[in-house]
Subunit: 351 residues, 4 copies
Amino acid sequence: MYFASDNTSGMPAQVLDALGQANDGYAPGYGADALMDGVRARIRAVFEAPEAEVFLVTTGTAANALALATLCPPWGAIYGHSLAHIAVDECGAPEFFTAGAKLVAVAGENGKITPEALGEVLAQAGRGVVHHVQPGALSLTNLTECGTRYSPDEIAALSARAHAHGLPVHLDGARFANALVAEGCTPAQMTWRAGVDALSLGGTKNGLMGVEAVVLFDPARAKGWELQLRRKRAGHLWSKHRYLSAQMGAWLEDDLWLDLARRANAMAARLESALAGRAELLFPRGGNMLFARWPRGQHRSLQAAGAQYYLWPDGQNLEGPETEEVSARLVCSWNTTEAHISQFLAAMGQA
Amino acid sequence: MYFASDNTSGMPAQVLDALGQANDGYAPGYGADALMDGVRARIRAVFEAPEAEVFLVTTGTAANALALATLCPPWGAIYGHSLAHIAVDECGAPEFFTAGAKLVAVAGENGKITPEALGEVLAQAGRGVVHHVQPGALSLTNLTECGTRYSPDEIAALSARAHAHGLPVHLDGARFANALVAEGCTPAQMTWRAGVDALSLGGTKNGLMGVEAVVLFDPARAKGWELQLRRKRAGHLWSKHRYLSAQMGAWLEDDLWLDLARRANAMAARLESALAGRAELLFPRGGNMLFARWPRGQHRSLQAAGAQYYLWPDGQNLEGPETEEVSARLVCSWNTTEAHISQFLAAMGQA
Amino acid sequence: MYFASDNTSGMPAQVLDALGQANDGYAPGYGADALMDGVRARIRAVFEAPEAEVFLVTTGTAANALALATLCPPWGAIYGHSLAHIAVDECGAPEFFTAGAKLVAVAGENGKITPEALGEVLAQAGRGVVHHVQPGALSLTNLTECGTRYSPDEIAALSARAHAHGLPVHLDGARFANALVAEGCTPAQMTWRAGVDALSLGGTKNGLMGVEAVVLFDPARAKGWELQLRRKRAGHLWSKHRYLSAQMGAWLEDDLWLDLARRANAMAARLESALAGRAELLFPRGGNMLFARWPRGQHRSLQAAGAQYYLWPDGQNLEGPETEEVSARLVCSWNTTEAHISQFLAAMGQA
Amino acid sequence: MYFASDNTSGMPAQVLDALGQANDGYAPGYGADALMDGVRARIRAVFEAPEAEVFLVTTGTAANALALATLCPPWGAIYGHSLAHIAVDECGAPEFFTAGAKLVAVAGENGKITPEALGEVLAQAGRGVVHHVQPGALSLTNLTECGTRYSPDEIAALSARAHAHGLPVHLDGARFANALVAEGCTPAQMTWRAGVDALSLGGTKNGLMGVEAVVLFDPARAKGWELQLRRKRAGHLWSKHRYLSAQMGAWLEDDLWLDLARRANAMAARLESALAGRAELLFPRGGNMLFARWPRGQHRSLQAAGAQYYLWPDGQNLEGPETEEVSARLVCSWNTTEAHISQFLAAMGQA
């Protein structure tokens, strides 16, 4: 009953095997390994972006912060949803990497920003007034922190608004694959065709040990060298880089990444169906995450039975009346099983 | 013939196996995995430092920069050898992580700082004068960048000098195990008993995929929370942290880390003997690295035969007269073989 | 008709004369001038704080950012009102000086934070969770950006809440003197007796050419050397420092600073009375600033007549229906005259 | 007998008068004052640089650090003489403002860098190697810290070398006027015609209360907005900016700045002549600074008589044998008098 996060799961066999194979022999370090050439070529092909540049790092926080530092100057404002990972869960990494940019919250239902809300914030941004930080970048998240999803059209509308104000667009894709297969569109449609300039392509929450790719679509930035130097300078350039390449290579091969995401999404759909009538769903499910609320008593039963998940939002606890409803976040991963779900429902029913 | 760096080698079977075992099932993220409890306990035992705190990251640059940022304020001077990795090979990571501290070079033969040289630099440091950066920290490297070695007594003498000026002491131990087994002392003797306050304990160059431990011996800093927050904020807190713990656990188990270092050192000793009479050794060998010079013509033969190593210092190349001597760095690793050495000598002899 | 800001006014004769006197002869630089000894002693006496430390700089942004950097670590959250100068009008200076701390907005009517609102934000702050920035400091502003005022009791209640969470308290006193004389309390009551650890004591908006004092009340910080080094490192240590000391010395002498503030407040009171019946006041007036709204047509008349003031909030303009009400900020300074007010009302009446 | 620094002197009457005149009435803040338009136009005319942009700040450290941050990225190396003010006397301000760039010392006799020495350092810089900070900017100082002087041709040769490597050139002109009048060339010849991209034009050491201008000659940077935002963000944008403009306006009017520099240089020449035979001059005098050595006994007499000057280099003191020679720095300013020099010589002779 592991629904706490998709990062509590391990790697599928293909990825572990790839690590073993990469382990043989000697390889040059720091990204000069032959496997990386394959990864770069494959990502360019998958994204239909022959001039994109690709950089591997090992955490989503690093991917986001490096991408944002490349897009936004120290005196810039980064617009993102008030619940965004970059704003809430990275201990100020974007501020650190950008040398002090300011994250400006944009409100929006279901964890999503609307072009109107973005427009309003930009209208008040004080562009051209030296006393104010200047509009710097837009950062979207797909799947969102509420487990909802932007369609390519929605992303395109937001990007258009951002670009009209001269802002580059970053997409935090910690759960990009889950969004992609749920949407049924191409990687290009979800990214550069919709105006995305830089993508954090998340592997860790979808079956890798710890690899994320920063993909720069914007040709000028892709050709530049800035992100590479920032990565080194932040201690994120791996010396035995082949092990990152190997993971991502296996993940992309035969569309494993899409299969893993489909499995996670399918389990979330099953869980959603099973909860119908027992719990109130909080947001429209976009992929492999659910937010729902049900009586505190059942939470107690679940936790007694060892179910792993987070109450939501942060800081909730189980003190209080038995019948009061408390919200939870439930995340399925590529190796969530039907048995986990059955056990969960059984424990929930015992209250 | 892979003598370019000890980071071009892979992992021994024990470490790869540990990754496979860690892959089973689910584990909490961000360092709350049970394996990390074992690693922490083991490092405390090995270093006879029951109150030390241990933080895993995946690159030496991250370990060094995080340790230094914890030891030194933004207006501090970090004293280190002019060839130190932190000064030359980290693209300014210490400056970035410390928010602008200044690296001050201390000269010294064979890549080693003497207490006298440190004393001279400190005497001119302008402590108490607001116009000057203030003495902040001492950073030593063992093995040094020249492959030489500090003894515990030498470290103690330098630490005493630093502490007398109120400076904490950092030890960059990218090749700590190689130094340790060559010296034949205990980990405690090489570190906190010799006055070291923070250690970057390198695993990557000695058989791991990518793990370094920052070990804080200084009790006040160990108890604090600063390094943990800095690690997160720098994107260096792994979500699937168990895979870092697993590597380091296997490495420490049954003293594997010492065995690996002994093998590397033994191969370097063999290579050194073999080169005697053919090349001039540049520095007294401290562990698994050699620096030597021989005629350019033999370098050409070696490179034609596919031998992997760096000319030294950076920026040398093979243009020039056949008989002129050119220096090289040769590094042995845990899986360097006698065959590599024989082939190397054979290729060298063909000139 | 100069109501745009109290920083469009010049210096009173006493201050200009003091500059002339300070100009004679030679004086040591960088704060070692004898005049500074007098300023330090006088501020300690005025604030009944014999161990406070005093640092002069030339802008409020510098004073605030230096104070905050001394109070709050890079991974800290600085709590302040959503309209606070540090959040809105300093182009990210606090983020720059702190190396990336995060400004967290606390809402509140009339530009004031309530202990309850602060408590709520602190309850959600995630203290102890490594993913979140950690509570770092509270920053209050008095007079507030809405021209309202905190009483010493209100400050004490907020400080108590902050201190209970381990947070030091900063007071942005760009208009401290205006608040002080309006409140009729002592400087000590408004600051350290109410729990303030660091004060930005504003002189520039109250008759100086460009001097603000950072006053550290917290004994540990006052004794330390950090702020002095930060000031130098930020380029804010004046070499001909005597000219800063001279200004502030003259300002404090014979309570000139309080007289100037009283004059400004009195003019604001007069303007407030005169506007009664013609305009709607937006906030309870705390000192020398008014916010009011009246029909756009009258704004047009005023601006045609050369009246200087800002529409409020930022970004308003005079396009739109004649009768619609538009808000304005009106600031009186030590040399605002009754004639200015009469002219203003006359121009307003011509619509 | 004030020879400690040219910043222990006050302002000439013209500058003080200008402050008084600027004090009348009201003026818009933050650089929008009419006086600034005059200053900008005058500097453009004086430097024959109609597209140059001009920014006033109040310390040389701020001017240098802001200029360098605009020229050099965080991962850049700033090449300067090992004695340069930016390297030694600014408490790490360049590192702070640039977000961690590295100052790389270039050696050279008499405080001057040679193109050859610069070329050698650049040859070893590791451009294109991700592990190394990348060549970022060249910073020269004229007059140098040794009181010597670069000719326009020397600057041009160094700039050409820098530009050939893609490096912009900064000139720290804390004593620019002294160099200029000594050289007898035009401001343009000493700056942009010699390849200088950004100048810190020092007023404070040459008669102003505290004003330095950053002049951006490079057209792309001059048109940009970066330096303006950096200035605000660093707390260096004055609200009552007219007082900075007024000073600089008076200084430029009727070539007062050149007259002041000529007076200081002339006094230094007189002092130099007077010292001939009594002391050994250390460097060829370039303007208003002398470095000389003479017996310790005479230093003691001088200091007993109240002579103000620094022993040199930093950290020297008067303990030791009477006859041993000790070096000193002697600086003349615009209001040094012949009487000062006579008294100095008299006191020196009493030993």
